[in-house]
Assembly symmetry: C6
Homo-oligomer: 265 residues x 6
Amino acid sequence: MTIDQYRLEEEPTYHPSGDEVAFYESAYAARLPVMLKGPTGCGKTRFVEHMAWRLGKPLITVSCHEDMTASDLVGRFLLGPEGTHWQDGPLTMAVRHGAICYLDEVVEARQDTTVVIHSLTDDRRILPLEKKGELVHAHPDFQLVISYNPGYQSVLKDLKESTKQRFSAVDFTYPMASVEASIVASEADVSADIADKLVKIAEKSRHLRGQGLEEGASTRMLIHAGRLIKTGMTLTDACKHAIIVPITDDPDMRGALDAVVDACA
Amino acid sequence: MTIDQYRLEEEPTYHPSGDEVAFYESAYAARLPVMLKGPTGCGKTRFVEHMAWRLGKPLITVSCHEDMTASDLVGRFLLGPEGTHWQDGPLTMAVRHGAICYLDEVVEARQDTTVVIHSLTDDRRILPLEKKGELVHAHPDFQLVISYNPGYQSVLKDLKESTKQRFSAVDFTYPMASVEASIVASEADVSADIADKLVKIAEKSRHLRGQGLEEGASTRMLIHAGRLIKTGMTLTDACKHAIIVPITDDPDMRGALDAVVDACA
Amino acid sequence: MTIDQYRLEEEPTYHPSGDEVAFYESAYAARLPVMLKGPTGCGKTRFVEHMAWRLGKPLITVSCHEDMTASDLVGRFLLGPEGTHWQDGPLTMAVRHGAICYLDEVVEARQDTTVVIHSLTDDRRILPLEKKGELVHAHPDFQLVISYNPGYQSVLKDLKESTKQRFSAVDFTYPMASVEASIVASEADVSADIADKLVKIAEKSRHLRGQGLEEGASTRMLIHAGRLIKTGMTLTDACKHAIIVPITDDPDMRGALDAVVDACA
Amino acid sequence: MTIDQYRLEEEPTYHPSGDEVAFYESAYAARLPVMLKGPTGCGKTRFVEHMAWRLGKPLITVSCHEDMTASDLVGRFLLGPEGTHWQDGPLTMAVRHGAICYLDEVVEARQDTTVVIHSLTDDRRILPLEKKGELVHAHPDFQLVISYNPGYQSVLKDLKESTKQRFSAVDFTYPMASVEASIVASEADVSADIADKLVKIAEKSRHLRGQGLEEGASTRMLIHAGRLIKTGMTLTDACKHAIIVPITDDPDMRGALDAVVDACA
Amino acid sequence: MTIDQYRLEEEPTYHPSGDEVAFYESAYAARLPVMLKGPTGCGKTRFVEHMAWRLGKPLITVSCHEDMTASDLVGRFLLGPEGTHWQDGPLTMAVRHGAICYLDEVVEARQDTTVVIHSLTDDRRILPLEKKGELVHAHPDFQLVISYNPGYQSVLKDLKESTKQRFSAVDFTYPMASVEASIVASEADVSADIADKLVKIAEKSRHLRGQGLEEGASTRMLIHAGRLIKTGMTLTDACKHAIIVPITDDPDMRGALDAVVDACA
Amino acid sequence: MTIDQYRLEEEPTYHPSGDEVAFYESAYAARLPVMLKGPTGCGKTRFVEHMAWRLGKPLITVSCHEDMTASDLVGRFLLGPEGTHWQDGPLTMAVRHGAICYLDEVVEARQDTTVVIHSLTDDRRILPLEKKGELVHAHPDFQLVISYNPGYQSVLKDLKESTKQRFSAVDFTYPMASVEASIVASEADVSADIADKLVKIAEKSRHLRGQGLEEGASTRMLIHAGRLIKTGMTLTDACKHAIIVPITDDPDMRGALDAVVDACA
């Protein structure tokens, strides 16, 4: 139950698309908090894993959700055989032991969660554990990273300006076709030819976004399709089960996607 | 109280309608998360039971609902004679011991529940028990399955794109007439003739869907009617009690359904 | 605190109006879940008591309400002198010991309550106690019964189709005049003449339903009036206190009901 | 902490306005649940105290409110030096020991509270303590009384028909002038002349109801004014402080009420 | 931790504006509950402190808010080294020991809080501690006082008629200029000349109420300005920081208030 | 865990923009509560740190949020090896030991939090710990400071007049260009030339406020950009990651900001 369980054992492969690696290294050197902006499934989680491995720091990832409270991040008293003892939450563990703490989709969390990070994201770099009456000064290696999907935000649910302005940020999007194909080929262990076909299907699906499709096929879906092909399934069936059926129930949109697959298969 | 109580003792009979068995075997081989899409009572639960039996894995089923929290899935501390101890929830039990975990109607659950499954449905295959400060790496046999009824979703209550895109999916619908009749005959222990009549009644009721009827009679209802007939009730009375009275209170719709039964009896 | 406290000691008198007794016996023989449909105060609770007595099974009745949770039905851990122990809820008690469990106005309960009954109302007949990590297989005598008042349902609060389709159902309404009069005469211990007059008043009040009156006088109200008469009150005063004042405050409606009583007294 | 602390030591004076005493005696003889209907401050609480004294039964009064839960009425487990013990709530105490239980403004309570009383208000006369797994059979002396203010109900907050129909009911309103004057004279210990003046003022204020005044002056307010006069205050000042200032802030309405007081003083 | 900590050690100075002292003495003599009506910062809290000192009674003040529950007023069980013990809340402490209990802005509290005071504000003068199963009879010296700001009430949040009619009431408003000036001079220890100027500024600000200003400067703000002047600040700067900046951000309104200050300085 | 951990060890540098230091010294001398008004990231937190250091007092800062309760500020009972003990919250700690308590963005907190400070912000200077039955008299050095961002308030969420009028207040805004440049140069350790360029960019961004940008770049963002430059990044890239990407996703606004950076670089 130590911080070491959060160290990555193997290098998570990552194919850069722009200046994101250099930016992250600068931001980490200056210990600036970092915001990763971009759509679902385009590699933000993989990127932060890669950077943590590269910098040799433990990584504590927390998937945020609307029922998450500040206590879930910071910690709480638990009742044991000898009365209560304090259990550090994932954020406190990172702050104390110098990990990178990655709050995935932080905007989903309740406001108390976002306010908790304020004193960690300015010059104070402290975390007050109010329930315990302790002020934790952040370990020099500690850094905070959050992800943010611009397509999901609404007036009701957005980061406050006073939170946004605490972060330096970098944009993510789907990788270029050649990069994406090599990701799919290596992750799903399929041929370059199949990977190319899957990427073409994905690109066409992404053009349908906003025309009845909420989002196009992500790189993750292409890897899924590749893995089904690897078990012996046809490319058409694999695309049906890994891409088309999951993202739409609309008969017309399914027809359009079927046609896309047929054209590329 | 071991994982073995979740093993199926007898084969759950299942009558395939398409390529769903082959798809599932591929998806399980690639350990892809699976989403079963389709209306109420058409056999999704039976299918996953059948596949678990076929693959020889324990099956832990959780019926989701809007008051379900992440703790209900993951586990919690309980107070015992020697202070608190941790009690694994059904999802954690499946993750640790290599069961198939089936979250029925997952869209009904609160968002924290769906976010909890994110790190289990990508390459990480880990489940962080934040309250316990433990990272559980999934057993190699573990697989996650969810069901999803497209007819029930609304703008307010739908899976997020970032959740949907983690699953490979297969469509379910009512079985073909001949398949459905043999299911009814074997499950209710009635003659082929009675089973045929019940299936005809069901098909006609399904055409009334959207004309004042929310859904047509499911296969389950036909089995219920068959079992009432088996106790000596007439087909007309059995259809009244097992099909018509449960699904509608509208006098006109009841009249239309009575006419359907009279025509087929 | 055993299951025996839920056995009925005396036969609850019940006057059948249709085929409901035969239907219930068939449904119980097939162990189908049963839904009793009908308005307030027309004898649904009495019917299920009668059937439980007739079949010689214990009966556990739960009045559902919007603050009822799944734990209220299933059970919870309680803290005692030697740490926590598990306390079965009423549903679990029925499932373990083979009682009939009657959930009165189940649609009022929160959704987690209705989802809890899903695995008990299909072929599995199991109740997972997730907090305890136990799977309870239903006793062969166990049966689930729910009541449902069609006049009360709204778009916001209705049983889901996937719940409705698990039940066989029977309609209840007010009994025929002669049957109702004999119920009133025997329950309130009044003469047949008085009972006839009360039933006539009730029938006329039921015609006013929808014309400013939410529901007409129920059989229960007639029995109340009869009992007040038995203490020496006049029929007019008894109808005022037991029927008119409770159901309306509108002066015109009160006048109409006074006229009905005068005409029948 | 016994039931005896709920016995009334002195007779609460009560001035009947109609047949309410005879009705209550009949309803109690038949053990019918009773509903007292009428506006604020016209003596419903005093009436039920009087009847409890007259019948020699203990009286347990509960003021209902929208945060009241079923547990507040029924009881709960409390943690003591030897683990948890069960603490009967006020309703359970009344049910066990044969008190009259008066739920004041029951419509304010949450629905679980009103559903809890269902099994006590039909022939079963039982109270299931689900958390404790106990069925309490009501003491033969137990009776349930509720109050209901028709002027307060709204579509959102009203008793359900299935609750209303369980009660016999009696109307309350302000007493006749001569009765009200003798109440004021005796309760405030003022002369008949002053009491008459106060009653005239009240009557005129009640005519202003609906013309900018939510309710007229209640009998209680007249007694308050009388008691201030008894300390040496003028009738005009007493009416200002005990009647006018509490019920309105509107300058015109205050002027109208000042004029009423001047005319009667 | 005794009731004596609630006794006032020094006389709180109070400058009467009308008959409020005489009224309060009468109301206390008759033990009538009292409602103090008026705007923010005009001396209601100071008045009740003065009266408690004058009558030689302890004073327990509770600032009400929308998250306050009945338990916060009445008390609760706390877990100590020897199991739970009961902790009286501030209201119960006042009821038992004969203090004046002042509920400031009671309308802000949840309804259960206002219902709790019903049985204390009629002839019963009792407080049922339902969780403890105890009926507390009020000490003869106990009195209940509430404050009420008519300008704040809305349809959604107002005292119920059945609560209002339990109180005798007195109006508060800003004191006359000469009275207010002597309050400011003595409380802030400034010259009569400065106090006069501040009062003139306040009066002009109060005329701007409703023209873009929610409320004018209260007596409290004038004292604040006086105290800043006492530290050496100019009258203009003191008015800026103690009056203008706190109450408005609107540039035009700030300009108008600046002009008011310049004209009076 | 003593009050001393809240003393500032080094002087927080602060560049005054107006009379705020003198005002604060006066307000502290008179022990008036202080409200700091102004937009995000313009130095309010740094100012109060500077003043606490200057006055030699400990500083307890609390970031308020909408899930914060009065108990989070005041304290609560915690269960330890010898039963419960009371844990002072941050406000109580400040009140007892004479610290300055800074409630950052207090308007975000729930109402019970703002009401708790009422008795600390008038002449009483007391804090009632109602759950503990203790009245804490404030230490003579205690002072309360709150921040308030006028641009964020809405009708639904604003301080009540009765709260606002308890504070003396001072306005904050972005510092003058020359002051801001010297802050950036010293905090980010960059040349005056770079600091000047960054300030020019910020000023232009602030003119875009309300034209699609919620707020312009804060001083904090300029320091971030400076620090990235210090690691070797170009000014253009540093502005992209530290200013543009964090505050907007709109392509047109990004173009406008890119042009601003190009023009100043």
